[in-house]
Structure formats: C-alpha cells, structure tokens
Amino acid sequence: MGTVLAPFLPRAVAGGDRQPKRLVMITSGQGTDMTTWAPTGSETDFTLSAQLEPLAAYQDRMLVLDGIDNEAAIRGAGRGHFGQGTMWTGVEVPTGTVRPDEGLGWPTAPSIDHIIGQRVGRETRFPAYYWGTWPIATDGPNQGPNGICHYRGSEDPINPQLNPASAFDTLFDGVLGEDPAVAERLRYERRSVIDLVNGELGRVRTEMPTVDRDRFDAHLQSLRELEDRISQITAACEVPEHPGDYTQSEIQSSGLLHVFTRLQFELMRHALLCDLTRVACFDWPHSEGSGAFMEPEGYRSFGSIHTVAHTMSYATDTLNPTDEERVIAREDMANMQQWRSKMLATELLDPLPPDILDNTLLVWSSEMSEGGTHSNRNVPTVMVQGDNFGAFESGRYLQWGEYDPISNFSQFTGGVPMNQLLVSLCHAMGLNDVNSVGDSTISTGPIEELA
C-alpha cells in the first residue's frame, strides 16, 4: 500500500461542500461475443451473463445498456475499424492522411471526457486524465483514429499514458503535504523557473520572425495553464507507491497486460482519492495486441485479439475457421470480457472508499459489438452509478433493437445512437445545458429511459 503523507481529506470535504461527482470512462476494443454478453430476465429482475458476473456486487447500481449504436462510425469513412475515434466524440472519421493506407483523418470534435473535464475539472490539476495499456498510441506506424478514443478538439488526439511511471510522475508530482516548508520551496522554485522561461519566450517572440509568433503564443498560454496546475501542490492525500520503471518492450508486451492494468488502476484510484482529476479514462487495447496475458490470469491464452475477433464471426481466404474454432474464439472473447469485468470490480471499484465510490459514475463500452463483423451497432455498454450519484435509475437492464435472426449477429436494427448516451453523460455530470454532442444530424437529446 501507499504511503500516507497526511490524513486523507479531499478539498471539497475540507471546504464543507458535498463530494464532487466523478466520471470513470472505460474503453475496450473489438467488442465481445455478443451471443453471451447480455443479461437474461426483465428490466428490473435480471441475471448477469458470465461475462459481467464479476460485477454482480454492483448489480443494483448497474445499468446494462443493450442496443447502443456507435452511429457516427457507421456513417463515416473507414467503418468498423475506426469506431474508437467516433464513440466518445459522436462525429464521424473523415477522409485524410493520418492513416494513409485507408485515407483517413482525425475526428473533428472533442470527446465528452474533454468537454466534461473542461467544465467540472477546472479546480483539479487535471481536468481529465488518460491511462491505457499498449498498443494504443498516436505515434508509430499504426497511429490513427482506430486506436485513439479521446480528443481535445478538432484533429487533436489525446495519447493515453501507457507508462505507469510517467503517469505517477505527472500525477503525484507535488503531492507532498508533509512539510509546509518543503512545499513552499517547491512552489517558489517552480514559479521562478516559469518566470525565467516566460522572459526567454518573450524575448524570442520579438527577436524571431513574426511568422513564428503563434507558436510562441501557444507556448506562453500553455505555460500560464501549467502555472495554475503546479501551484496546486500539497493537497494532502494517500500517494501510492511508485509503480516501478519498465522498459518500452515490457510496456509493449501483450504478456504483461494484466500487470499494467493493475498498476494503472491503482494510479487511477489514487488520482480520484487525491482529487487530482474528476474525469478518469482508461483504454484497453484496440485493433492489435494478443491474449498472451490470459494464462497467468487463469484463462486460456490466445494469439492476436484481432484474429480471434475475426475467427468467431466469418471466414476469410486465409482463415477458414472450422465451427470448433469459432466456438473457441467466442469463448476467448467472452473470457477476456469476463476478465475485464473482474478487473473493474476488484482492482478499481472494490478498493475505492465509499465516499468516493458513491459519487462516481463508471461507463464502459467498446467501439464495436462483434469485432469480426465490424459492426458498430449494439456496442456492449455498462454503467455503474454510485449510491449518491443520483443521475439515473439504476439496477436495470435496458434493451433496444433486435438482431436479424439469420444474420449471425451481424444485422441489428432499432438501436439508440451513442450520441444520446453522450448527452446523458453530460447531464449526469451537471452539464444540463448540453443538448447535443457530436453530429446533431444523428440525434439530439439524452436517452429519456435512463432517468
């Protein structure tokens, strides 16, 4: 466990206010085996599937949403593969040069984590913070909206932090409440450096050609924001132990995904505890990666997640899966989803103290339903709402739409656009004036049935 540097006392409580609301957004890639995902039973009296069973302790606080369509992905270029860029933004992926092979660009709107963070997180160090596990990144040859779910704005992707040591450095830097003199000195030193750098930027700005000025202005603006961020030191709270240093090849090893998931979830919990952010996002691998980590977790390991997702649904000239291979692939996908449910329960939600958990809303979804069909309809979505959160009527299994029975779970009609869920999430976090997120021609307004 971490070192308690001072008794935990969130700012809001210290100020006598109510606990602030927190949003936890979980994204996983490639969907799951949709034939075994949904609960059985009625809206209020239902039994969770094996995939979701590890969350059973939270069933009265859950909303299982069966029938949410990642509609913007269906409308845009690139289709199924690129639904990560659309699911939290609500806008389609345009043509462009970010992914030269497919001719795709970045989405042209911010994602709701950023929209909400900018509104509710101004007094925390990080309006929103982003964790992830390999292979999600904007750099490297696979960059693009197939792996990046979060955006500051138009064509401005946000890289989740994949390195726990870097997340630790960034998050808990300056959280050292033990000795006021130490904190005072640190604040003084940082202010002094920023003052000096400001001066140098000002000089350079006038000395360099005027065409470069916008760049220096952006730097000056960022420095002003940084000054606000780093002035917030000495928030007394429980700092976790340093997660350890890992090499890039370890961070990029599919065989260690379970290790990094735990490390990142621990940092997420402490970031919420310390009120460093109120919008915490975590992304599990998307288009690539393998199931090598499953064996140490007590499941059957498998190769490429991408291949398994394909195998369970359809044949290609290179794969030709037998019926048995399809069954195995479906089991592997279901196992992985069950493992994720387990991680969310045991590594994230269970250890949160009640005052935090009760004021937290967790939403978990995927860009596709079944990876093999590349269907962006009926993406598996689950929410867990803390007891004091009060935005939705929880303990429910909500179902919209239906599959064409002869389509092998590939044709689905009657779903609700993700855009409406995005509006509902904004309302849940207090942004009641938001009536539309992303492409308003898809839909506007919240999902009325949630309330």
């Binding site: 001719g103 990144a137 064509e155 750098v197 290609t316």
Partner: protein, 560 residues
C-alpha cells in the same frame, strides 16, 4: 494551426484539385505530396520537383538564392529522440541514466518522417518538458561540482553558463542572456546549496525556447521572406540532420569561425559528421522511415497463419539493419546497390526461410538467388511491413512503391474501399482486380495494382511461393504512371529497371531532402532537389553532401 490539420487541408485541396482537373481517372504525379499545395491547386501534373537539371551551380557562397528556389520552412521543435540524444551528448550518459524520457510529449510525423514542425505545444507537453528538465536538473545537481569545473565564484559560474549555454542554445549566449542566468543562479543559491543552484539552472535552461525549438531567424539584415541562415543555424541543421541531435563544440566553433558560410566549409563538416558512428543511427532511421520499416518490431502478425514470424521477426530487422549500413558504409552507397544487391546478411534461419539458391557466405552474409530476390525490396522486412493484411498485400506494397520510391501521390480511397472482404474463392489478385475494376477505383488502382502484383511471389512474410492458396501465382503485370512503364514478369524483372529509373533517383533525392529538413518538400525546392540528384549521380553518400550545399538547406523561406 498544427501539422495534422495542415496535412489534412492540403490533401483535401489536392483531392479537389485533382477532381477538378479531371485527374481522378488517372494518377497525378504531383510534386507536393504532403505540405505544399500550390502545384496541385494550379492543377498542373508532372514531376515539377524534377526541374531542369544542371541549373543552380553548387557554389552559392554569398550569392542570394533565386527567390523562388526555397520553399517555406516552419518552426521545428525537438522530437523526443532529438531531445534525448542532445541532452545525453551535453551532460553525458551517467548523468541522464535513469531519466524517464517517456515523459516528453508525443511526436508528430510528416509523411513517414518523425518531426514536430508545425506542432503546437499544450499544457501537457510543457508539463512533460518540465518533468524531464527537473529530473535532469536533479541529476546535474548531484554532479554540480564536476559540471562547474572550478571553485564557485562569479567568474566560474559565468564560464559554466557560457560553456553549457553554447551547447544548449546552440549559439553563444550574449551578455544579457548570461546575466539573466547568473542572476537566476544567485537567487537559487541564496539559502541553498551549490547542488540546488545547479539543479535549478539546468532545469530552467532545458525549458527555454532556444533549447526546445530550432530557432531560425537568418542573418541580421535579411528582412525578406527568404533568409540566409547564420552559421550557427546551419550548424544546427547539419547536426540534427546527420546526428539527430544538437551540434557538438567542433561544429559550433566552425560556425563561429565563419566556416559554415561557404560550401567548402559545410562539406568538411558534413564529411566529419557522416563519418562518425553517431551517423549510423541516422542512416538507419532514414531508410527505415522512408521505406516504412520502423513498425516491424511491434507489428501484429497472425501467428496462427504465420507461426514462423515469432522467431524470425528480430532476424528480419537485423538483416535489413546490417544490409543498409553495409550498402551505405562499405559498398558504393548507390541506389542501384540498395535495390539490386545480390547479397544480404541473414541469419541461418532466415536464409533457410528464403529457400532454394540462397548461399551462406560466412554464416551472416549470404548470396541471393537472383531469380527470386534482389536488394532491399525483396527482404522479408519490407515485404512483411507492407502486408499488414496479407490478402491486401498487393495494394499495400504497390502503394508503398508508388509513394515511397516513385514519389507518386494520389488521393485517399473512397469510403467503400475499405469495406471489401476477401474469401478463398479465388486468388487474392483476382479478388483485388474484381474489387477495383470500377472506373472510380481504376483512377488509382491502375497504377497501384500492377506494382503490387509483381510481388505476388512473396507471401505475407516475404516467403517465395508459387501458389496462392489453391491458385497458381500470376505475378506478371503492366506498370503504368512511371518512367519505366511496360510489361514485367515479376519483381526481379522490375527491380533492375527501377535501379535505372530517373524518377526513382529523383524520388530518393526528394526523400533525403524531406528528412534533412524535417518538412515536406515544396515545389520551390525543385531546383535544389534536381541539383543534388545531378551532383550525386545515384551515390547516396554524395547525395547527403550535395543536399547540405543546396540553397534550400542553407536558407529559410518564411512565407509563400
């Protein structure tokens, strides 16, 4: 505006221009593949980057460049790798060991080359710079006495600031700047230790714009849009180009002595930097970025279909690394040798994978079976890197050949293109032909498909094959939209012609120029590209030198 949106806008502009000019039914060979839109916007086709050869002599000393012979350069910010290499060279490996450079902000790319040109910072990037600078500052504080190198006194501190300031600012600090830091030192020293003053001073120096950006204002008095770079600015361009890091003292002293104001002086330094082992990493970075090979280490290959890949991946990478360095360092560094060498450096396992006719020379060097393999384009690394979805390999490989080697650019495919699915009812070639038969597709695929089909004898890992599933491989194809159009039986027939292609030669020159300048080439760089290519005559070592003598390397254009 950031790089990404610049690129996006220019591509859309290109697309519209092509459609407007009726080019969509045929590939437009456009000079401005990435950044500059003027050529496409004017609707002209043709390789304008070639320009007229022979114009623009190499000796441009003191001569103003023709005002239209240099394209716009934005402001570059150091990439993470440049940052790391630079501070490692300045402070030494022991001081920076243990610094978490992963905290540096993510980098952008232009085309296949990593660069932060045009990419604005945000709060998270400046926070990343702060964290890394603080870490290096702490380490410098621990070595404060040895870094200072003399008994602490105002003179000693001033000397330290000027010595390290020279390396960090990549030019001498003037008195006012040295004064600012001396005052900062004193402030931080008050009520604290020597280590604290050192820690804070290094922390601050590494967050200054002079360190983080490659500032280029040009010679004093140059007020026009095209400015001749100062000696120090040329030193930085040379060093970031050839070492991927800031200049060393010898280069800075050459700048101080005015040596970099002449082509001969630049030549001497280029030769020195290139000969240094520090350039090995640069050489590899260029070739592997250019040919799209740098993702192989993390490429996701279906191990059920290609179980050999797990054990061969590192061998594939090692083969190409050894081959590139050998061609560039030991052999004649020619485009021709790169493309047609009959030797390589494969492990025994990889040599066996390559199959019949491959002879081991000494356990690492092998001779190839020339009927099946020639040069880098038939190495497993290239063939695997461009087969991310194996059944689409002809499209990926054909696109890479056209874009990377012939410098042909075309608009992105329409939305429907990525929705095509494959099955086992016919060969991949047949299915691609059927799927792209539509006139709208043929505009580009008439050029992409044949080049890709010529490589159909190589499977998704580059293994030689004669059957594609149940169907015999048919690799013969008719190449269009290049200067070596015509019928070819297979890749090994095409490649020797590519080695003689002027279009490929010019393209190599353009790619090196883009790499050297960390920006896309624009139409106004055409003379420099042609001049460098003509001087080099296919010798890529000579090409590097020729590029550093060009107008466009030695000047900065501020605006169109």
């Amino acid at each position: 505006m950031n790089t990404r949106s610049l690129l996006q806008q220019s591509t859309l502009a290109t697309l519209c221009a092509l459609v407007a000019a009726g080019c969509y039914s045929g590939v437009s060979v456009s000079a401005d593949s990435l950044g500059e839109t003027d050529t496409a916007a004017s609707g002209s086709a043709g390789e304008t980057a070639e320009g007229d050869s022979g114009e623009g002599g190499s000796d441009t000393d003191d001569a103003a460049p023709a005002s239209d012979s240099v394209s716009v350069s934005g402001l570059s910010r150091l990439t993470s790798a440049e940052y790391e290499r630079t501070v490692t060279a300045i402070f030494g490996e022991p001081v920076v060991a243990g610094v978490n450079f992963d905290n540096l902000p993510p980098d952008g790319t232009i085309g296949r080359f990593e660069t932060n040109a045009g990419l604005d910072v945000n709060i998270d990037s400046v926070d990343g710079y702060r964290l890394v600078a603080e870490e290096i500052g702490v380490a410098a504080g621990h070595s404060a006495a040895s870094l200072l190198g003399c008994e602490e006194s105002p003179e000693c501190v001033d000397a330290f600031l000027r010595d390290y300031g020279l390396l960090i600012y990549r030019r001498p600090l003037n008195d006012a700047e040295a004064g600012v830091f001396a005052e900062f030192w004193d402030t931080m020293r008050a009520d604290a230790e020597l280590a604290d003053a050192m820690r804070m001073t290094v922390t601050a120096l590494l967050q200054t714009p002079d360190f983080l950006y490659r500032l280029e204002s040009g010679e004093e008095g140059d007020e026009g849009d095209v400015r001749r770079l100062t000696g120090y600015e040329v030193a930085s361009r040379l060093s970031f180009f050839l070492w991927g890091a800031g200049p060393d003292l010898e280069l800075l002293h050459a700048a101080q002595d005015g040596e970099l104001d002449t082509a001969a002086g630049i030549d001497a330094q280029t030769e020195r930097l290139l000969a240094n082992p520090r350039a090995d990493e640069t050489i590899l970075r260029f070739y592997k970025s250019w040919l799209g090979l740098d993702g192989l280490a993390t490429q996701d290959v279906d191990l059920e279909e290609f179980p050999e890949f797990e054990s061969l991946r590192d061998d594939m990478i090692a083969e190409t690394d050894a081959f590139i360095l050998h061609v560039f360092r030991e052999d004649d560094a020619s485009v021709s040798t790169l493309l047609t060498a009959d030797y390589s450096f494969a492990s025994p396992e990889l040599a066996e994978f390559y199959g019949e006719g491959v002879q081991s020379v000494d356990g690492e060097e092998i001779t190839l079976n020339p009927a099946q393999r020639l040069g880098i384009l038939t190495q497993a690394s290239y063939l695997t890197s461009h087969a991310r979805a194996p059944e689409r390999a002809p499209i990926y490989r054909g696109t890479s050949l056209l874009v990377d080697l012939f410098c042909v650019q075309f608009p992105p495919p329409p939305d429907a293109a990525t929705a095509v699915e494959f099955d086992s009812s016919a060969s991949a070639r047949k299915q691609i032909e059927d799927a792209t038969a539509d006139a709208a597709c043929q505009g580009c695929h008439v050029s992409i498909n044949p080049l890709g089909f010529l490589f159909e004898h190589y499977d998704g890992l580059g293994r030689w094959r004669t059957m594609d599933g149940e169907f015999p491989v048919d690799a013969a194809a008719s190449v269009t939209s290049t200067d070596i159009d015509g019928e070819y039986a297979s890749a090994t027939e095409l490649i020797p012609r590519m080695a003689q292609s002027e279009q490929v030669d010019r393209c190599v020159s353009r790619q090196w120029l883009r790499f050297a300048l960390s920006r896309p080439d624009g139409s106004m760089d055409a003379d420099s590209i042609a001049q460098a290519a003509d001087e080099a005559r296919g010798d890529m070592r000579a090409l590097v030198g020729a590029i550093t003598r060009t107008d466009t390397f030695r000047h900065r254009r501020l605006r169109e």
